[in-house]
Symmetry: C2
Subunit: 246 residues, 2 copies
Amino acid sequence: MPNICVTIAYDGTRYAGWQIQKNAKTIQGEIEKALRKILGEKCHLIGAGRTDSGVHARAQVANFKTNKKIPTAKLQTALNVHLPKDTRIVSIKKVPLKFHAQFNAKSKLYRYTILNSRIDDPFTERFYFKVPYKLDLALMKKEAKTLLGKHDFKSFQAKSDRSPIKSTVRTIKRLSIKKTGDFIHIDIEGNGFLHNMVRNIVGTLIEIGRGYLAESNMKKIIALKDRRKAGPTAPAKGLALEKIIY
Amino acid sequence: MPNICVTIAYDGTRYAGWQIQKNAKTIQGEIEKALRKILGEKCHLIGAGRTDSGVHARAQVANFKTNKKIPTAKLQTALNVHLPKDTRIVSIKKVPLKFHAQFNAKSKLYRYTILNSRIDDPFTERFYFKVPYKLDLALMKKEAKTLLGKHDFKSFQAKSDRSPIKSTVRTIKRLSIKKTGDFIHIDIEGNGFLHNMVRNIVGTLIEIGRGYLAESNMKKIIALKDRRKAGPTAPAKGLALEKIIY
């Protein structure tokens, strides 16, 4: 029973997210459907991280087991023929039987892209959030530093989070804010994320940058453990799962 | 009668090209329609260069004259409200009455993007031509050098070229081939281009890079003045008008 690991890039615009759902188009659903067509058997795909509706991925990782003997290069080609154009299997390999894409992941790197301009970019319009206001980048960088390390991130957890894991303590290993032209990239690497945590952190940083948040001190926002003290949830379209670190 | 100059970025995918046509969606047509709605009068838009169906632009330049008094910043905002999302007015300014976007252009810079990979990139799929074969980049660079300067580019002119200008002599001022990751960018700056000239040059360079062209010597291809000796026309989707130099 070989264990196959795939790396997937997708434009999440048309999807209801990663996780398989009835009556909705999902990345997991499309790949499982393609695998069934190619291999003639039902495979269960284990994704490293669930991305929400509209969130993109440059390198989502997933694994599945199959009894069928098919060279991985052929399987990759067949998957890319069957999958919609907005979803590509960028690499494929056999992995040890015990490999589990979700449980073995040490950390995940997300990138949030802001277009800090009044004018949209028709070339990348689906992959950023446009912020047409002046942002105090130095202040954003300064306050972002407070998020590094192990904290209780309850203030950044979606109220609707129905995850069975009760602890809201997570570790942010890296957080960088870089401006290139009119684009601002916020890279956040962590050992795990609460539901909407990245988007809530970004929404808070944007409000801090605009000088719009009553409490612009990130340390206090964390300490209050109150979702209402943080900023709004930044839109899904600006978020991409960049990398899974094993 | 103020003369207004606009810089336009567009994703050319859904368009039948720049130039206004009956019963087809064109960039010139959409902008003239928007101007008519906003200003209440018909304006004639003069574009610096006509892009073909499916060709993109990061900075097309055009001018028009109007009797209406409207602050340029307001006009820009109104145009971007009326225009489809794939077309943005990135800048606007008043220019001297004698300015003519086409006749005053000293040169034009085009960029052709190749994805040299077997796997598509779902993030930029509309803006490159995928070449899944190994390319000899060093040879392509060497042969491309021959194109620099003033030459008769008849071998690279579309047979269907119905331009009233009879001379096929043009000057290429700059030609660079750069690889970044799996992307190859071919930048070509010239004082003017024959119909399909950039795409025919790129198609020829790709064939040279693959070792597929009987005559892989660019000097000979130019000298033969025969379209059949050059390579095929590279697809429109990889081409973008990058800059107009005045």
